[in-house]
Structures are given as C-alpha cells and as structure tokens.
C-alpha cells in the first residue's frame, strides 16, 4: 500500500516541481494512511536523493544505470511498473511535464489505471476518488473521478505548497529487469544550453509580443529579465517570425507556464496566448492600447509604449534596491 512518485532529475539534480510532487504525495499518503515512496531513475548522488525525505518521502528507491541517463519511454515504463507492483502502489504520481506526459499514459495502461492529468489540488473526495484539473486550456476546471483500483495522476506545476518535514527517509537501490525490447529508441546526440534559467523553471518571466515591432527592440526586455533574474518568453507570432527562438513561445501551442510574475509587454492577450500563462500568480501588462484584452486578464496594467516605460521602470527598480 503506497503512493509512488516518479522523480525526474536534470543532470543529477532535482527541481522545485519534484519537491512539490513529494509534498503532494506525502499529504495524500497521510490521508490514506499509507506510505509515500519516491522513485528516482538515472545517476543522482546520495545527498540529492536524501533531500526528497525533507518533504515527506518515507522511502526512496534509486535506479542507476548508464543507459537511463536519457529518457527511454519503454524502459522507464517497465521500471516504474515493476516498482509499483513491488510497493503495492495504489496511486502513481508524475509531474505534468516533459517526462510525466511521456510516461504516465504508458504506465497507466500497464497498470490498467485511469489517469487524471494536470491535477491542481489534493482530491476533493477519496471515495469516489475525485480530483480537479484544468480543461479547455485554462478556460474551465473539471472534477474527474478515477474509477480503477490503481490511479495515476500528473501534477500541474506551482499548484501545491512545498512543505518541509522531519527527514525519516531510507534509501534503497532497486535493480529492475530490463531487456533489449525496452531500448528500441536510442538518443544519438544531445544539445543543451547550460547555465541558462529555463522558462519552465522561472519564477519571473518577461515576455514580448508583436508590439515590440522589431527583433532589434528587445534590449529593454532582456535588461529587465537580467535585473530581476527572470527568463524570457514571447508570443507565437514573434517566434513564428523568427524574432525570438521557438523555445520561448508560450501559449496554447507553446509552453504552458505558471510563474510568480509574468510581464506581458506589447502582447494583445489573445485567448490562445492566455491559455499558456493564465495560471501565473501575478500578470503585469504594458500596452499602448488601453482597450487591449490583456488588461482583462492582468492584475496590474500600464498604458504606454514599452520602449519608453521599460527603461524608466528598470531605473526605478535599480533605485529601489
């Protein structure tokens, strides 16, 4: 009887979302009076593994294998299913991101489990097991009942508090059974930027739209991001035009983010754009058009030209420090 959490690592380190997952799972495990077991796959050192105990993991299972330092969907699925069986998992939890979206559906079929994906809170009811999730790309919330005995959840970022507890976790190595059939996909090469704050990790996001008018006009945005320690983002037409890289595109068809603060600069606030950013805690908009729809979704707004307002704002921020 347990809640099993799959914990991804990036170059051997865990991210905030992983600790959110453990906090969520340990609260759920308490409600159900069962244990919270975390599973890490890939090379992660002992101190990092142990850190999962700070948020309520009772047991940490560690699978290390050099073939598993990149995501191999079938192999990972086999491992998670094996651990789920060994630990008698009633609920298996993933992050609603790159790895969770790849693995949760496969694991669910293996375990004949129903899935609620992008869950935003602890269950409203344990019987029937009912959770909330966003639907219609942020436009509505649904209550979903999972009817199968084993349940799979993927947790939406920034939707639960991280809660520290006394660390009582034990770490155990787990030796999965894998065969060649699990490795039919192979990663040939990897290109990665290092040292750059990733958009999906950022608490502060500075985002520009077509209102910036020219790829040469992004200086003040980059400066604001640098001054605040934030990451850059953009609307779809901006990345389609090649003004900014594709990995900065946020919205319904781009990245979905939920930072502490989102600066929407020269962005009109189209519904498809909002689909990717409306879960941000605070939205601050600057737009020349006082009737721009973005002001209906923003918490704070300034009517004005970004090229004039931003340098003044940066100056004022520097003075306030």
């Amino acid at each position: 009887m347990s809640v099993l959490i799959y914990i991804e690592n990036r170059d051997g380190k865990f991210k905030k979302l992983s600790y959110e997952l453990v906090s969520y799972a340990s609260q759920l495990a308490k409600q159900l009076n069962i244990t919270a077991v975390a599973l890490s796959i890939g090379n992660v050192d002992e101190a990092e593994l142990k850190s999962l105990g700070n948020y309520g993991a009772d047991k940490i299972l560690d699978v290390q294998d050099d073939r598993l330092n990149v995501l191999v969907n079938k192999a990972y699925t086999s491992i998670i299913a094996q651990v789920a069986e060994k630990e008698g998992a009633d609920i298996v939890i993933f992050a609603h991101n790159f790895s969770g979206k790849a693995l949760a559906p496969r694991v669910a079929v293996r375990l004949k489990a129903g899935v609620a994906s992008g869950v935003t809170a602890l269950p409203g009811s344990l019987d029937p097991f009912t959770v909330q999730k966003g639907v219609f790309t942020g436009k509505a919330i649904a209550n979903v009942v999972i009817k199968s005995p084993v349940k799979v959840l993927t947790l939406f970022q920034n939707s639960v508090e991280i809660i520290e507890t006394e660390n009582k976790a034990s770490i155990e190595a787990f030796q999965p059974v894998l065969n060649d059939d699990d490795f039919k996909t192979k990663v040939l090469d990897v290109t990665k930027v290092t040292g750059k704050l990733l958009l999906t990790d950022a608490e502060i996001v500075v985002s520009g739209g077509r209102g910036m008018k020219d790829p040469g006009n992004w200086g003040p945005l980059e400066e604001l991001a640098a001054v605040l320690g934030g990451a850059m983002a953009c609307s779809r037409p901006v990345s389609d035009e090649g003004w900014r890289p594709h990995d900065e595109h946020v919205g319904q068809t781009g990245k979905i983010i939920a930072p502490n603060v989102y600066f929407a600069l020269g962005i009109s606030g189209a519904i498809q754009h909002l689909g990717g950013v409306s879960s941000s805690k605070h939205i601050i908009a600057i737009n020349t058009d006082k009737d721009a729809p973005i002001f209906e979704s923003a918490d704070y707004g300034v009517v004005g030209d970004v090229q004039k307002v931003l340098p003044a704002l940066i100056q004022a921020i520097k003075e306030a420090r």
């Binding site: 693995l103 129903g114 992008g118 966003g134 009942v145 999972i146 009817k147």
Partner: protein, 248 residues
C-alpha cells in the same frame, strides 16, 4: 511506409466555454469544430514528407467519435490525407479512445503513428502514450522534428533546455508538438472536391472500458479588475513588485 494520424475533433480555440445540465455537460450549441491544433501540425508534417518524395504510400486519419465529427475528418482528407476511419463511439476517456485506435492499428501495418501532444478540449496528453503501450510499440514524445531518409526515421525531441536526436525502430508512436511543421494548410477547392470521394470507413467500437469520468465542471473564479498604474508613476509599480509580488 504507412502513417496513421490520430485526430481529435475540438472546439475552435476562441470558443467561449459553457456548461449545461447543472454543470455536468459541456454545452456544444453553436460550437465551431476544428482539427486539434497539434494533430493539424502532425498532418501538415506527414504531407510535407509525402510531397518531399519520401516513400510514404498512405496517410490514414483516425478519429473516435460520433457522426458529428465527420466534417472535421473530411477537412483532414481535403487537406491531403488519403483515407479515414471513424470509430463510431463517444470518446469516453483517453483509455477508451486509445484502446479503440489500438484495435484498428493492430489490423494494419502502420509504420508511424502520429498523435498530438495534447487535445485542446480535455488536455489529457494521454492518448499517444496509451496507444503505444497497448500496441507495445516504442514511443517518443515532445517530438519537434520528424524526417524520413530511405527506411530510416529521424526524430528531434525537445527536452528541458535543449534537443535530442533520436533513432527508433519501426513501428513507433510519435507524439508531436510545435516545431514539427510549417504553417497548417487551408483546404483548396480541389482538395474539398476530392475529399468527397476519399474513403471514410466507419468502424464498430470494440469492448473497452473508460477508467475515468468527468463528473462536473466549473469556470475559473472571476479575476479582480486590473489595477491601472500611470506611466508617469512607475514608483507605484515598484511598490507592487516589493509588497505584492515580493521579488525586490
């Protein structure tokens, strides 16, 4: 090579969402239906590859849905898919849908199965992965590039902060996202005419369970009005960053 493309029929992205029957049903009155945006990207890529002269014999689209989804399926045919299958059942949940598609895919030897990373209605991000598992095929998700050279498939996968090039054995399931193709296409008049003659086969569903149920809906809490700050008084915005957002 043969490509199977999973198509979800979704409300236009600008739709105002409403519910009926005490907030237990999505209100479909007056809705404009479209091909799910990611499935459209996938279809566009499949056509680009076919036109490039790679050895693609056939692109089949499959949808699980009632008769009402046929105009959307016909649109995919008009854009350029060769034939279509509609599994005649309401798409009860992702598990049910994936089981239906798997049953069809088993009968034909498709080399590449394409799915969008998300369906813009229920935002599950589930069908592609579930389908791969039902079929015991390898799957690659977050695919932002797909190419074919001879019998070799080249895949680009987006990872956090970078990209990977991936080799896979066939058959496999590619779960695709933005970057996979250029602009989606608009059906031409000729395409629309031709689509009428292309096969759209209706398949009886197999026995499968739904493991989840969407029992009720709510709209997000209304947002409080935007607080407007004068462009001449940015001190006030700095105050917000200090006291409300707490980042200074």
């Amino acid at each position: 090579m043969k490509i199977l493309l999973c198509l979800s029929n979704v409300p236009d992205t600008t739709t105002k969402i409403r519910f009926t029957e005490d907030n237990t049903q999505f209100d479909t009155t007056g809705i404009q239906w479209i091909i799910n945006p990611w499935d459209e990207f996938a279809l566009t890529r499949a056509l680009e590859l076919k036109e490039k002269g790679t050895n693609i014999e056939k692109i089949t689209v499959i949808n699980v849905g009632g008769k009402a989804t046929e105009p959307t399926i016909r649109k995919a045919l008009a854009i350029g898919a060769d034939d279509a299958v509609r599994v005649d059942a309401e798409p009860a949940d992702a598990y049910f849908v994936a089981a239906q598609i798997a049953d069809f895919a088993k009968t034909e030897d498709y080399d590449i199965i394409l799915c969008g990373i998300d369906s813009s209605d229920y935002n599950g991000s589930l069908v592609g992965g579930m389908l791969a598992e039902f079929l015991d095929y390898p799957s690659v998700s977050s695919v932002s590039g797909l190419d074919i050279e001879g019998s070799e498939v080249k895949i680009k996968r987006e990872i956090d902060g970078g990209q990977e090039h991936i080799h896979t054995e066939l058959p496999f399931v590619a779960i695709v996202q933005k970057g996979i193709s250029l602009e989606p296409r608009i059906p031409s008049m000729r395409g629309i005419m031709m689509a009428r003659k292309k096969p759209l086969n209706v398949k009886t569903p197999v026995e499968a369970e739904a493991l989840t149920e969407f029992v009720s809906y709510e709209l997000p809490p209304a947002k409080s009005a935007c607080k407007m700050i004068d462009a001449e008084n940015l001190q006030e915005l700095v105050g917000v960053l200090q006291n409300e957002v707490k980042i200074l």
